[in-house]
Each structure stands twice: as C-alpha cells, then as structure tokens.
Point group: C2
C-alpha cells in the first residue's frame, strides 16, 4: 500500500499552503513521509527556481525546510496524542522561528532530499532539525521551532 | 528622478533570482531602495501565497527577508568600496545563514514592507537585520549573515 504523505492527512483548511498544500496549484507541493524516526521528502525544482544561473534559490530552500519541519512537528505531535488519548482533535503547530545555514550552492537541475527529526519537545514548542541534500551531499542545515497555535497568536 | 532599485543595479547574471530578479517572470520580483541608512521594499502578495486561509506563507516571508537583506549587504559593500577605491569590480556576497522569527500572522491581502540595516561588518561577513511589517505592525524579524562569495564555496 502506498504511504500517505503527511501533508495529505490534514483537513482541507491545511491544504492551501504555498509551500506544501496539495490544493495550491501555484505552490511547491512538497510531500513528506515518515521513515522510522525521521521524515523524508524529495522535491524537484523548476528551472526558474534560481538564485543565480545553475543554483537553487535560498528562499526556496528556506521554504522547503520550513514546510518539511513544521509538518514533521505537527505529525509527531498528532502521533503522540493519538497514542496517549485517542484524541481526534489534536493541537496545531505553526512556525515560530526558522534558521537556515547554507553550506554549498545547490544545483537547480537535480532533485533535492530533505531529512528531519524532532530534536526536542518542551511545553508548547517542538524543535525540528532538518537538512537538505542534493545527490547525497548536505547543502543546507535548518532548525525550526514550531509553536502550538493559539488564538492569542492572532 | 525615480530612484533605481538595488536589484536593478546588478549585471544581467544577478537578475534571474526567483526572489528578486527582474528577469525572472515566475518570481517575486522584490525591489529594495535605500532610505538614509536603511533599505526599504514594499511587496504585494498574490492571493495564492498562503500559509493557511488569510495568512501569508512563512516561506515567502523568509524569501523576502533573504533577498532584501542580501541585496542590502551587497549594495552597502559596493557603496563602501566605491568610496574607498573607485573599484568597479566589487566583491559579491551570498547568504550564509538566515534566521526568521515569526511574531504574528501576516495578512495575504495587504502589501508588506521590509526594512533592513547593516548591523555588523566583520571580515568576509556582513550581518543585516530586517523586519517585515503589514499595515505598520511588525510581523516578522529576520537576520541574515551574508558571506563574501569565493570559488571555495563551490
């Protein structure tokens, strides 16, 4: 049976994201999957996702790391809550902060792979570490702190 | 006389960036201008640049902060070098790291304004702090460390 992407498990409200929503035809449509205790996504840049000729744009890399990591946080939280309580109304997490370190230029004409893990869960925060690879070489390292969403944030 | 955007002062090679290149028809086409010792850019989201209904995507915010800040670093460096030596072959800076703290959701249906300043210049690094506003309210804070580009980076 084909595994379902994390992004395809949310309600319709969560499917319009420019970075990863399946119902956003203009977006990047990133799809992330669990593999053991890490999440993995493979994504193919378009030729116009450039920084400069040949290199993938840093903003696109940041967007991929953000979406992959925040989906990882939400999915990990949901999994834990379902195991504990069978709750069907899990809490939602949004990006509180995003850090990206660019190690090397990333080719625009090759697929990239993202790998992320939950690093820490503390109170209302989940910290996720994430790396982006091209042809097996680590090109960027990221860290996202996802924060439990509250109407106080609005 | 209308001021020329920072992004429109680079050679053709620098105009394909997805975030801010004037020759990338699929990109965000951000344009940044000096106002005294800070740089300012105003940008209009498209309706599909969503995180969730009504809110601007965090990846787009990160992309805008990255491009606005790295252009600020390059332009500040060029200005300093021209003043010092009249050099017409200035050094180029690329994003070494990007940090974004998301303070509040940003409306997708309003223009955003970015304001940035050079915070520190040390060796091969220029640190730029940048905030993003919607209707005068600060919605995100960013910091970019731009690093002098070298073929060693390749």
């Amino acid at each position: 049976m084909k595994k379902k992407a994390i992004q395809d498990q949310w309600s319709e409200l969560g499917t319009m994201c420019w970075g990863c929503g399946r119902n956003n035809e203009h977006g990047l449509q990133l799809k992330s999957y669990w593999e053991g205790d890490e999440t993995v996504a493979t994504w193919h840049p378009k030729p116009y996702h450039l920084a400069f000729p040949g290199a993938l744009c840093g903003g696109i890399i940041a967007s991929l790391i953000d979406c992959h990591s925040t989906n990882t946080a939400n999915s990990a939280a949901r999994r834990d809550e379902e195991q504990k309580s069978g709750s069907d109304s899990p809490k939602s997490y949004v990006t509180g902060s995003l850090f990206v370190k660019y190690l090397k230029p990333t080719p625009v004409d090759k697929p990239v792979t993202l790998r992320a893990k939950v690093k820490e869960r503390k109170g209302r925060k989940i910290t996720v570490s994430c790396s982006l690879y091209s042809e097996g070489v680590e090109k960027a390292q990221g860290e996202v702190v996802a924060i439990q969403f509250s109407t106080k944030n609005l």
